[in-house]
């Protein structure tokens, strides 16, 4: 069974601070996705990384896939209250996995004005 360990579980910071969320596994994933979830809603995809060492930027968010495709990180620069939410990493294996996702436990981010 593939597992994804996400850390930290909770993060409470002031507006303007930087933060990093980590997603680690002992297994290799063919792709790694990051989702953001608001209360009362389903997760919404932020980014997909598929190549070891890949870095993708989405405005103030930077996503990195580890060289060995076993880990990933999400870095937010100058966090804003609108970034508050639950961040989930999810990995998928290749082959006949049918796109099934293995999720991490999630990181609850609160950004205070």
């Amino acid at each position: 069974t593939q597992l994804l360990e996400q850390s930290p579980q909770f993060l409470s910071i002031q507006e303007g601070e930087n933060l990093t969320v980590y997603c680690n596994s002992s297994s290799v994933f063919s792709s790694l996705q990051w989702y953001r979830q608001e209360p009362g809603e389903g997760p919404v995809l932020l980014v997909t990384v598929v190549t070891g060492g890949e870095v993708k930027k989405l405005k103030r968010l930077t996503f990195q896939f580890g060289d060995a495709r076993k880990d990933s990180s999400l870095h937010i620069t100058a966090a804003q209250p609108g970034d508050t939410g639950l961040y989930l990493c999810a990995g998928t294996s290749g082959g006949t996995s049918y796109g099934k996702l293995t999720f991490g436990q999630g990181t609850i981010l609160t950004v205070h004005p």
Binding site: E41, G42, G99, L101, Q105
Partner: protein, 114 residues
């Protein structure tokens, strides 16, 4: 284009009752999934389907059943509800196309079993 819709949004069941959670997508996606989300536990896959008439178990299928008679609909059936099935249930769909991995999620059904 409504995306993925789920009904009901909330439901309270008594132990031993049964119910069906409805999921419909209008994006003509061939793959569909059911997840449950418990507090602090992320999402766990219950069942999935790769097309009409084809379903398979995920990580936590016990106590649930699914069917997929059309591309659009993927209902989840709970027989003999138990308190351990108290959770938020999400349905998702995905279009299998080249390197498209994105799953589109519905708004969820919050179920309480007492």
């Amino acid at each position: 284009n409504a995306g993925v819709t789920q009904t009901p949004k909330f439901r309270i069941l008594k132990i031993g009752q049964s119910m069906t959670l409805q999921c419909t997508q209008d994006m003509n996606h061939n793959y569909m999934y059911w997840y449950r989300q418990d507090p602090g536990m992320g999402l766990k896959l219950i069942y999935y389907s790769v097309g009409a008439g084809i379903t398979d178990k995920g990580e936590v299928p016990n106590g649930y059943n699914v069917s997929r008679s059309t591309t659009e609909d993927f209902p989840l059936r709970l027989e003999l509800a138990a308190p351990s099935q108290t959770s938020v249930y999400f349905c998702a769909s995905r279009l299998v196309f080249r390197s498209s991995y994105e799953q589109y999620f519905g708004p969820g059904t919050r179920l309480t079993v007492t």
